[in-house]
């Protein structure tokens, strides 16, 4: 990896302590400085009234064109319900081997599923999701190791099954010279 840094951009309100924890874990996983920024977007432009969700494809494109640069991997943090046309929802998505990604904590909270709120669990899930999407921007694919953070998750339960870390195989992949984008 010859990336200079990772940029996390929050769109909407996020507690500072949450962002700090995420930044620390991201830095630990990718061994790159993490920069914080606040981003401002008129999310109504991305709202699909028929689905009552936000279009993830368009948001990703916007983050990529307006906020990302070649010198960093940029991840937009959201708290709205994301979808892509083909799927009922997404936790996040990223341009594979690209510059940008997005992640939302909307569907990661226990309340969404009628369970007692658990802030720690929410933070843990969101951190994993952020690390996961950033992994895609570095060219990492879904991992078959169920405890690897790059393992595919379609339900929150899947996210809870995995660790926050990259498995040794993904780490090895990440450190290959050709992964340096």
């Amino acid at each position: 990896m010859n990336q200079q840094h990772i940029t996390l951009i929050s769109f909407g309100y996020f507690r500072k302590d949450i962002l700090e924890v995420i930044a620390r874990e991201v830095k630990l996983q990718y061994a790159l400085p993490v920069i914080f920024r606040e981003g401002h977007l008129d999310l109504t432009e991305f709202y699909d009234s028929s689905r009552r969700q936000y279009n993830g494809n368009r948001l990703l494109k916007q983050v990529d064109t307006e906020f990302a640069s070649d010198a960093s991997k940029t991840l937009g943090l959201f708290s709205v319900d994301l979808f892509i046309p083909i799927l009922t929802y997404i936790f996040g998505q990223a341009a594979f081997n690209g510059r940008a990604g997005i992640a939302s904590l909307y569907r990661l909270s226990n309340e969404r599923y009628g369970i007692e709120p658990d802030d720690n669990l929410l933070l843990e899930r969101f951190t994993k999701e952020v690390i996961h999407e950033l992994g895609h921007t570095f060219g990492l694919m879904h991992c078959t190791n169920t405890s690897c953070v790059m393992h595919s998750s379609t339900y929150v339960e899947d996210i809870d099954q995995k660790e926050q870390q990259l498995c040794p195989k993904c780490r090895e992949e990440l450190e290959k010279p050709e992964m340096a984008k």
Binding site: R51, I86, L87, F96, H136, S152, T154
Partner: protein
């Protein structure tokens, strides 16, 4: 290690194609996209995809029509249809037309992952099944064909390539080289392997017996024909017939054989009903059939009919490097069958075996090893356990008698102790040969 599953996405909406593309790429699939059925079908002409994910509603040709065309092109294709307007009718129609499944847009991410994973599992299983089938075929009945020598590897390569065809094969090679094993290997690796391999030792039968053996006979066809009997050609229906020592058949039988090979039809001896049998023919001989054709003792037309493929098995003396492997194999084979602990062979004994000319080829070596295991001390095969040590092939033999004994023994082995043929080869009469055998106390090795 499983192969990379390929997916073709067919949808007129770019956003759908892009989303699915990203989704599957991240899941380690190989993904291509087509914006309509026409493009997809033209892609499928030049490239195959494991899974085709196609939208039903598309301008021009719709997904259902495309599904039918894909299935006509490649029946085993896995097609999953997607629709934003799910109706029972379209879903049922798609499944009737051979779709693997259908999904309604937008999909639950987990449903889509599951669906694709299930399809991929099916493909992987089908591939593994094919590979296993191939492996089973590859390994069947070739365990006795030992040899890492270039010559033997070439024989095995020929066996492999000829097995899948239906061509007639002539296997040539000296006595004891394993011609029948090659015939078995060809049959076992051929599409006919689930049907019989029927062997006929032509040299062991008189003309009339051979005729009855090959074509069968009806009740009362000749004295002693108490019941009707199926012939070997009939028994080999859908399978293979192996005619060993083909050079020994009479001119009359050659004509009969040619006719059967051409028409695959024959009549049982004493019968009048024509019987059809679908068999493949493999022949073997230790004679030079071409010279026999030249001197008129073997029909040229039959020769060409049989000699579509010729596999020549080299004599053991031309592949000395295989001897240690063969010895090891026979030791294991006989120690196991005799419930004895696995023996080893003394290097000096092995060296002598490698120096021996083996006129009786692998069969002779096998007999020697078997005999050594029976008479040996149960620990190691030593030089003294091998018949070649008893000066039969001893280079130190100096007397004329020793040489005569040695020579006669080798000829007898070469002709499988067929006294008439050995005597003919030695240019002495049978009585003289018997006297020599008695004089030198020559005995065949243990029969296998």
């Amino acid at each position: 290690m499983t192969k990379m599953i390929s997916i073709l996405i067919v949808d007129d909406e770019e956003s759908v194609r892009d989303s699915l593309y990203s989704w599957f790429i991240e899941d380690r699939y190989r993904v291509e996209c087509a914006e309509n059925a026409k493009v997809a079908l033209s892609m499928l002409e030049s490239e195959s995809f494991d899974i085709i994910l196609a939208d039903i509603k598309m301008p021009g040709m719709d997904g259902l029509e495309m599904l039918r065309r894909i299935k006509a092109l490649r029946k085993e294709s896995i097609v999953i249809v997607m629709t934003a307007f799910a109706t029972v009718d379209t879903a049922v129609q798609a499944l009737k037309d051979g779709a693997f499944d259908y999904v309604t847009k937008p999909f639950d991410p987990d449903d889509l992952s599951h669906l694709i994973r299930n399809a991929a599992k099916l493909i992987t299983l089908a591939d593994e099944n094919e590979i296993l089938k191939e492996k089973v075929v590859m390994l069947e009945n070739v365990e006795d064909l030992i040899g890492e020598s270039k010559a033997m590897q070439e024989v095995l390569r020929q066996v492999e390539s000829v097995a899948q065809s239906n061509s007639s094969v002539i296997i040539t090679g000296e006595s004891g080289t394993g011609k029948e094993l090659i015939a078995k290997a060809i049959h076992s690796n051929s599409p006919r392997k689930f049907f019989p391999l029927v062997s006929v030792h032509c040299g062991a039968l008189t003309e009339s017996l051979l005729e009855s053996e090959l074509f069968g006979h009806e009740k009362g066809a000749f004295t002693g024909a108490m019941y009707h009997r199926k012939g070997r050609f009939e028994m080999a229906d859908s399978g293979t017939i192996f005619l060993d020592e083909i050079a020994t058949i009479s001119t009359k039988m050659q004509i009969e054989l040619l006719r059967v090979l051409e028409t695959k039809k024959f009549v049982r001896v004493g019968g009048n009903k024509e019987i059809t049998s679908d068999f493949r023919v493999i022949c073997a001989t230790n004679k030079d059939l071409k010279s026999m054709v030249e001197n008129g003792s073997f029909r040229e037309d039959l020769f060409y009919r049989l000699n579509v493929v010729n596999i020549n098995i080299p004599p053991l003396r031309e592949r000395v490097e295989d001897i240690p492997l063969l010895v090891e194999y026979f030791i294991k084979k006989y120690c196991t069958s005799m419930n004895k602990p696995l023996l080893t062979i003394e290097p000096s004994a092995l060296r002598r075996l490698e120096e021996f000319s083996f006129p009786g080829n692998v069969r002779e070596l096998e007999n020697m090893v078997e005999r050594a295991i029976v008479i040996g001390n149960g620990k190691k095969i030593q030089l003294k356990d091998l018949p070649l040590e008893k000066s039969l092939i001893d280079n130190s033999a100096e007397s004329l008698d020793d040489h005569e004994k040695n020579h006669i023994y080798q000829i007898l082995i070469k002709y499988d102790w067929n006294i008439s043929r050995a005597a003919k080869a030695l240019k002495i009469d049978r009585v003289t040969l018997y006297n020599k055998i008695r004089k030198y106390d020559l005995k065949p090795s243990e029969e296998r």
